[in-house]
């Protein structure tokens, strides 16, 4: 995938600028800091990968950006500037106009996201209606699209995401579609209002590998065609390597390393990233070469002192046990949260 265009506007203001975002869950076991001071920017036309294991906070970061955190969870601090406006200061009504319109979302399990008792066509039409795209004309001539116009728009959207025989599919129910087709419908709905940002949370994890590659190709194609920004959340380092421009690695609620994709895979800095990359087999891994990371991801209610990774880190020192590391900037736009680079 080519580098995103750096137009003048993008240089001045990133599309999304997240600063010190924190989200906690207040449970009987105590406060779980699920997102802990996360900062990142996303430029126009950039594909950003957020990678981490389960419980690392990658999904909750996305949900916090969309302000979709339900009690007992709460966003406890930070800012989420989208096109310069801090979403955390906006009304719920304003957020409803952002979700699905300027920021589109797709989730891991399309079957759980689609309404099982509604026809595909009606669901896509609903996305258009709810997010105001079913209105044509401007000023005094504004009026809702006719049924036929709406249908035509639905069919053309399904065609954009390569759903074969879209007229017939609009009359079908979700269970009549394969997992891959369901995910295409989800993408069509997310794209209905031409969002400038698409948040995709494990969009291919539930799919078979040949279907996964179809969906990734589709997402790449649409991203390039519309110069859309994408935040791709995944546990799969292979998917990241093949789709993203820039990568953030998350561990225990924090971004512990950020770099451009090639830089991150060629020269990982944080001991967690180094180990993670050595723990997944790639095309040239020989038997016995996989190095497992001992132990497990810590519980968020019982985080270790200092650096959260220190109990599993081979390089841990007294400092790591006592002090939380800050973010250290390295050359080539590489940032790492580790005392080794102080």
């Amino acid at each position: 995938m080519p580098e995103p265009e750096r137009d003048l506007n993008a240089a001045v203001q990133p599309l999304l600028d997240v600063r010190d975002l924190s989200t906690s869950f207040f449970t009987s076991a105590g406060e779980a800091r699920a997102v802990d001071g996360v900062s990142f920017t996303l430029r126009h036309g950039e594909v950003l990968g957020v990678v981490g294991e389960s419980g690392s906070g990658k999904t909750l970061t996305a949900l916090s950006v969309m302000r979709l955190i339900d009690p007992p969870g709460r966003i406890t601090g930070g800012s989420v500037r989208f096109n310069g406006e801090d979403l955390l200061q906006k009304s719920e009504r304003y957020m409803r106009s952002v979700r699905g319109r300027t920021i589109g979302m797709i989730w891991q399990d399309p079957m759980a996201s689609l309404n099982p008792v509604k026809r595909i066509g009606d669901q896509v039409a609903e996305a258009l209606r709810l997010h105001g795209e079913a209105i044509e004309g401007g000023g005094n001539r504004r009026r809702t699209m006719s049924r036929d116009q709406l249908n035509a728009r639905v069919v053309s959207l399904l065609r954009t995401v390569n759903v074969p025989d879209p007229e017939r599919r609009t009359r079908e129910y979700p269970h009549q579609l394969s997992g891959g087709l369901q995910q295409r419908v989800m993408i069509a709905m997310a794209l209905a209002c031409e969002p400038s940002l698409l948040i995709a949370d494990e969009p291919t994890t539930a799919l078979d590998v040949t279907i996964q590659s179809q969906i990734l190709e589709l997402l790449k194609h649409i991203q390039r065609e519309r110069n859309m920004s994408v935040m791709l959340i995944t546990h799969d380092l292979g998917v990241v390597a093949e789709t993203c421009h820039r990568v953030h690695v998350m561990y225990a609620g924090q971004i512990i390393e950020s770099a451009d994709v090639v830089e991150l895979f060629d020269d990982p800095k944080h001991p967690y990233t180094v180990s993670l990359l050595r723990s997944v087999p790639r095309h040239d891994t020989r038997r016995g070469d996989l190095v497992a990371i001992e132990g497990k991801v810590p519980e968020l209610t019982a985080l270790p002192s200092g650096c959260s990774f220190h109990p599993r880190c081979a390089h841990a020192t007294e400092t790591c046990r006592a002090q939380e590391p800050g973010d250290f900037d390295l050359p080539a736009g590489h940032t790492v949260k580790c005392h080794l680079y102080a």
Partner: protein, 294 residues
């Protein structure tokens, strides 16, 4: 519906045969049929040179000592109301280790062998992480010192950092216990890492089989080629030409005529639609079912 349709393969003593394929290709059904946990409607399974299909119940039961299974989901495959010591001791109790003390010793040894400690014996499954639960399942499978283990997606439910722990444990145990594995997975990288030979399945059939290195170096069947090109590799320098297959896997209730892969095959010719390709031995342990491979 034929979930698995006329497949032939052998697993040599001491090797790991990987079966790889997408959902619905029949790889799990194959594993169950090999273990006689489902009765195949036709065909034969030989274990140690002896046919094991349709054995009388008593003999079938004795066979279980030698053939065990490791399952995908370490959450649903352990009884939540049993203590770890009882879970691992159950096969021993069922197969005649009647002395409590002896069972206790064996369970303790097994747990240590899989990287758990004796302290864990009195705990319940919910007190463990996914990786630790999979270790418990492995200890249970090893309890009767089997010769052969079918591992069905044993690392698919685990986090990436934990997958490597379990894969390395399986490799280590294979040496220590002289095991033979049938390793079933949808993940090509994982299968390649652990297997000596690989069988690729599509819609109930094996389309290609051969030495793991040979298949990965030069896949011959168009489906194997597509599958491998679709597998995302965690190396951003590997920007291969990806073969994107059209459509999804057809229903096994009404499989396509001729070669079952022809509707999705980018190279399909007229004969592929009509004639079923023979599963041909190309020598060197490689067999392929495709008209276009010489």
């Amino acid at each position: 519906m034929r979930a698995v349709d006329g497949i032939d393969f052998r697993v040599n003593s001491g090797e790991t045969l990987g079966i790889v394929g997408e959902s619905g290709c029949g790889k799990s059904t194959t594993g169950l049929a090999v273990l006689q946990l489902i009765q195949p409607s036709a065909g034969e399974v030989k274990f140690d040179g002896r046919s094991i299909v349709g054995l009388p119940q008593g003999e079938n039961r004795r066979l279980r000592q030698h053939m065990q299974m490791i399952l995908q989901n370490p959450y649903s495959s352990l009884n939540p109301r049993m203590r770890v010591s009882d879970i691992v001791a159950e096969p021993l109790r069922n197969f005649g280790v009647s002395n409590r003390g002896e069972r206790f010793d064996q369970v303790q040894q097994l747990l240590e062998r899989v990287g758990l400690s004796a302290d864990h014996m009195k705990r319940f499954p919910h007190e463990f992480s996914g990786g630790q639960r999979q270790r418990i399942g492995i200890a249970r499978a090893l309890a009767l010192r089997p010769k052969f283990i079918v591992a069905d997606e044993p690392v698919s439910a685990l986090d990436v950092s934990v997958q490597a722990q379990i894969l390395n444990l399986l490799l280590e145990l294979k040496e220590g216990f002289n095991l033979t594995y049938l390793f079933i997975s949808h993940d090509l990288s994982v299968v390649r890492y652990i297997s000596d030979r690989i069988a690729v399945m599509y819609l109930g059939e094996i389309v290609e089989i051969g030495a793991a290195d040979a298949i990965y170096a030069a896949p011959l069947h168009p489906y194997t080629q597509a599958l491998m090109s679709a597998n995302p590799d965690p190396d951003p320098h590997q920007r291969r030409k990806r073969i994107v297959l059209q459509g999804g896997v057809p229903s096994p209730i009404d499989p396509p005529s001729g070669c079952r892969f022809h509707p999705r095959c980018p190279l399909a010719e007229a004969r592929c639609r009509q004639d079923k390709p023979e599963f041909r031995d190309l020598g060197g342990g490689r067999s392929v079912a495709c008209h276009l491979v010489d």
